[in-house]
């Protein structure tokens, strides 16, 4: 019997599901190992007897809360994929406004017909077995984690900062170019892709387990950022966390 897996999307752009679908070279190999029983982005049929649930998107309404609880009750293993489900992600930007205000901004005169709650990661509502943040999810990491689950192994998700992968890639440090970067406190696993492509780390994989955010903030200050700039930087993906408040 092949394990049954399901994909569910919450508040987000659904880009993570697209990213999985885009993995054309390995998606067929995946189908040899598992049965996909629920995948809105890819198929019409739906069953609710899955063992592994992959979740993308943040929790941002009361109905999201009820729905994720039901999924947790069914799934033996629940994996958050992408920044929104793992961290709350960009959705948490709204948490810095009042909920009435954001409803008015988005729905105008129809605001009264909608409800919204501060956006949060899945782990703030139900226990999550593994989180693989990244915006969008890193398809190679998704495959790696899936293979580990199929083998009954604990997936290896890096607990060291992006700096490690940046050094392995032999990039010039972003700070040496006169710019700033969240790499020193952000969880690696992306291969330092943004820096390698000439940008800086935005923090989309969330923080490592023991980030020295005080030191990172000091360094950002020394490199010309104000306290407000620094908070804004952290709020892009880590708005749910204390570091951004």
């Amino acid at each position: 019997m092949k394990p049954k897996i399901a994909f569910f999307d919450f508040t987000g752009c659904e880009g993570c599901q697209l990213e999985v679908l885009n993995f054309e070279t390995e998606i067929l190999d995946l189908l040899n190992q598992v049965d996909i029983v629920n995948f809105r982005e890819a198929m019409t049929e739906r069953e609710d007897n899955y063992e592994i649930a992959f979740i993308d998107g943040a929790i941002s309404t009361e109905s999201d809360v009820a729905r994720i609880k039901a999924i947790r009750d069914q799934a033996k293993v629940l994996v958050a994929i992408g920044s929104c489900s793992s961290l709350g992600g960009v959705n948490c930007l709204k948490n810095f406004y009042s909920m009435d205000e954001v409803l008015k901004i988005v729905y105008g005169k129809d605001a009264e017909y909608y409800n919204t709650i501060p956006a949060r990661p899945v782990s703030a509502v139900v226990p999550v077995d593994y989180s693989i943040a990244q915006c969008p999810v890193n398809r190679y990491e998704f495959i790696k984690v899936t293979k580990a689950l199929l083998l009954g192994k604990k997936p290896e998700i890096p607990n060291y900062p992006v700096c490690v992968e940046c050094k392995l890639a032999e990039n010039v440090c972003v700070f040496d170019k006169g710019q700033t970067c969240l790499g020193p406190v952000t969880r690696a696993g992306c291969g330092a892709i943004c820096i390698t492509q000439g940008r800086h780390c935005w923090g989309c994989r969330g923080l490592v387990d023991e980030p020295n955010t005080d030191s990172e903030k000091e360094i950002l200050k020394e490199h010309g950022l104000t306290v407000e700039d620094i908070l804004k930087k952290f709020r892009i993906y880590d708005g749910w966390l204390e570091v951004a408040k």
Binding site: E26, D29, L30, N32, Q33, I143, K144, K147, L150, L151, E156, N159, Y160, P161, C163, V164, K167, L168, E170, N171, V172, C173, F175, D176, K177, G183, P184, V185, V208, D209, E210, P211, N212, D214, S215, E216, E218, I219
Partner: protein
Amino acid sequence: MINFVDTLIEKKAAEEIVGVKASDSKYIFGKLANAGELCLNYDVTLLPPKKYFLPQRETVFKFKLGDKPSLEPVAEAKSTILIGVHPYDIKAIELCDAVFTTINPDPNYLLKRDKATIIGTDCLSPNPKAFCASLDTATTESGFDLMLTDIGDSYVVAIGTAKGDKLLKKYAKTREATQSELAGRDGQRKKALGEYKVSLNMSPEEIPGLLEVSWGSPVFKEKSEPCLSCGSCVMVCPTCVCFDVQDDVAFTLDKGERYRQWDGCMLVDFAKVATGENFRDDKEKRFRHRMYRKGKYLQERYGKLGCVGCGRCALACLAQIASPAETFNLLKAS
């Protein structure tokens, strides 16, 4: 020199001709397309040439699972000529050689090492964090096949091995250096010694003994407070040799490969074991361990100091705490 390097490339003197090249505003070791890319007057490269013997990531064996499980060792190497290796990096390679040949010889490292030819060059413009002059690593009399020194209008070449001699005879036009040219080399080296901005306030021989009595020093806690545990210092170090080993299994789940990837003792999980216990669970312990590794442990095991003073760690450290010279000096002063 340009002719020599171009000839090496044109005549395919080795499968890979590698040298120091500009990359953004810094320097790296990389494959040379032509001699014009070579920068011999550089301060330091982002990563040391160690990456040619111990690559950032390397497959060590392939395996098959199932009824008849099997494994096949993987050790690959191309003949490589490395051009422009500074003396401190040569000293670091000599230490790596000791590490990978003592007790448990490492076939992957040794194969690559055996197929490499090292053409060194004296470092005439040290980076602002280097302290090679204090560690006797600014120049070297061993560890190279050829050693070049820029004396202005030409290079003085020292021959280190028969391999180097053969390469030179085959691909370069040379003549015996004159007394004044040799004096010119000595002058260049002496001038470079005066260029170092950082120095140790003790002899290198004193460092292990200093650390012996410094275990409880408050310096480690104070210095390590801003440590990001980002691992930059250990990733760029020419004498760091630690790696992590992991498996990459194919989607068919019946075969795969085991690979190793650089790891480092400044990372939070480095000393974490299967039960969850972490033997160096805070940054002070990790910081101290690194200093002992560089200043004491490797010396005791291999007879060579674990730091060559290249300054890469200090250049890479955003928290500005990584320089072993700084910590050793503080310990000495306290």
